[in-house]
């Protein structure tokens, strides 16, 4: 299912791809008549899985295609049976959360097999966590798509809903629409110009969370920032989308572009030097740490987006994904310890960049 070197959201071209890596919407849903996941017994969890799997068939063909081409259906993955390395692949492709990859309780995920844009985690924090992930800035489109999936599911299942509060969820922060919209932004310009703190403050004032490359609890690495709404209760889906995608995101995109322009105008030499040094290290190092490679690839992405380096942007996206530990081990076809991964990571980067002609 996981195709080597291909995760559509990270590699494909998308609107505003120079700043917005990907857009994500997710809905938290729970089946009425079952305890929340953390209160459910193993047999209840099994039942939940069975119920959900019963309605997955219709998804993918008609449902979940949206504006993009999409092949047939979703594929079910039983996470209890899946080896650790394969679970790691799903985390790195942002198809399941870290928490969902761990543990031994019955749980799984359904993934759209064509492009991995849709994933439905079952028995994560809520019974259902439906996610649509798209390259670039595409929240309207993603919301439309996830709406179709949700409609399909709700037409067949009894979902926990309160007329007063809205959708009921395991954690109160998700009650209401159960909607979280987020975007993965690449903000090297604002970080290098020292203005990233202003973004953090503006985000805080608007109840927007700023997280790292792997969402909740992860550190910022490689200038990748995941921004998402915090409040779901008492707001409509359009309210949430409007203030985030309609106002905040376009402002940040313009702010980042302006920082890049101003750096290139006033300090082109410094920027070029940093970008090319990063390229020099990437093309020559014999061992690369996971954090370091993200930082170096960030400079490379910055260089490509600003025209300093001439190479396809999707090569950078591909490297961001393939240099992660699980992907690396999958590519090598062997379990590797940390030291071995650093060597293989450096090999992969040199080979990929050499093939890309840089």
């Amino acid at each position: 299912m996981v195709r080597d070197g291909c995760s559509q959201w990270l590699e494909a071209d998308g609107p505003e791809k120079d700043v917005v890596v990907s857009s994500r919407v997710r809905l938290a849903r729970n089946l009425a008549g079952y305890p929340f996941v953390h209160k459910a017994r193993a047999d209840e969890r099994e039942q939940i899985i069975e119920v959900v799997r019963g309605v997955l068939n219709g998804i993918g063909g008609d449902i979940g295609t949206g504006s993009r081409e999409s092949g047939g259906g979703v594929e079910w993955v039983d996470l209890c049976e899946l080896p650790k390395l394969e679970r790691g692949l799903l985390v790195e492709r942002h198809l399941i959360s870290k928490q969902h990859s761990k543990g031994s309780q019955p749980r799984g995920v359904a993934v759209s097999s064509s492009d991995e844009s849709l994933s439905i985690m079952v028995n994560e924090e809520d019974h259902l966590r439906i996610q649509v992930l798209q390259p670039g800035i595409a929240l309207d489109n993603a919301l439309e798509e996830i709406g179709r999936v949700d409609d399909h599911i709700e037409a067949q299942l009894d979902i926990a809903y309160s007329p007063r509060f809205g959708y009921l969820t395991a954690c109160p922060t998700n009650v209401g629409t159960g909607l979280r919209v987020s975007a993965m932004l690449h903000l090297p310009g604002l970080r290098l110009s020292g203005e990233i703190e202003k973004v953090r403050k503006a985000a805080k004032a608007m109840n927007i969370a700023v997280r790292g490359f792997y969402g909740e609890g992860s550190d910022v690495a490689g200038d990748f920032y995941q921004l998402s709404n915090q409040v779901t209760l008492g707001k409509s889906e359009q309210d949430i989308l409007g203030s985030f995608a309609g106002q905040f995101l376009p402002d940040i995109v313009e702010y980042e572009r302006s920082a890049r322009r101003s750096m290139l105008d006033s300090r082109r030499l410094v920027v070029e030097d940093q970008v090319f040094r990063a390229l020099g290290t990437l093309t020559h190092a014999r061992q690369l740490k996971a954090d370091e490679v993200l930082d170096l690839l960030s400079y490379l992405r910055f260089g490509v987006c600003t025209g300093v380096i001439d190479m396809p942007l999707d090569v950078v996206g591909k490297l961001v994904l393939l240099t992660q530990p699980s992907h690396l081990q999958r590519l090598c076809g062997a379990r590797l310890d940390q030291a071995e991964r650093r060597v293989e990571r450096a090999c992969l980067v040199r080979k990929t960049l050499s093939e890309a002609g840089v």
Copy 2:
């Protein structure tokens, strides 16, 4: 006179070139009947120059050829007339000292025009400072050569000499033979393995001074260490040469080689990574500071000498020389400020390494 990109001692192959960059001997001599330089009036200095220039003619053809091929004669350079940039070139080529390049008093230098292996500074600290510089470890050879030059000069000039103390010099540390022998060593193995302090201690115990790339008062850069004898009084030339070249130097050479071998045996990956990262920075940076380039070239030299990188060693030597400020400006044909030099330095390094096929 100063041929672009060519300083024989730094570029040519020499014995033990992997560790010993160059060997140098110098004699301090003073004319009898004239005050020492720091006590001499301008007209006396002029007279000293005139006297010395009168005996330079015979040097170079027969004298000063030693074992190596050598073209005709020495060339006289009046340092008062020479522009600052050109004086800088002579300093960077180790043909005159920094002190000698400064000031406004009558002074000059005679340089063997074929290979720059011989230089005679006039009115530096002493009336005459005769120097022979050779690539690799070649102190015996250099001593033989400088002896011929000294014999030629002493046959025609009355040199200040005391039967009790030996040759008289402006500074008591040079009284006696007036001989200083030194070697420029490249010791990346001992520095990286943390054993360089032992060398310093051993040197101190043997009255051997450890200095940087530009001798007295200069910092160590790029793992280049200039080692020289401290004591000249009460010792014969053969005593000095024997303990330094016969005992201390070969020990250090073996110590450095053993450090390199042991690093490559036990930490080959780390070494290769450091060497290739340095190469990556050298081939990609858009600006390079003078200190940084020496450090990076040191890794490169280390890589070439240990077989990690396949390229001619003389390219590294050439870069060590040509990236110095005066050479860089001479190559560019313009006075450059520090920022401009960093850019031109990076350009030169990229171009040179690209031409060398690395």
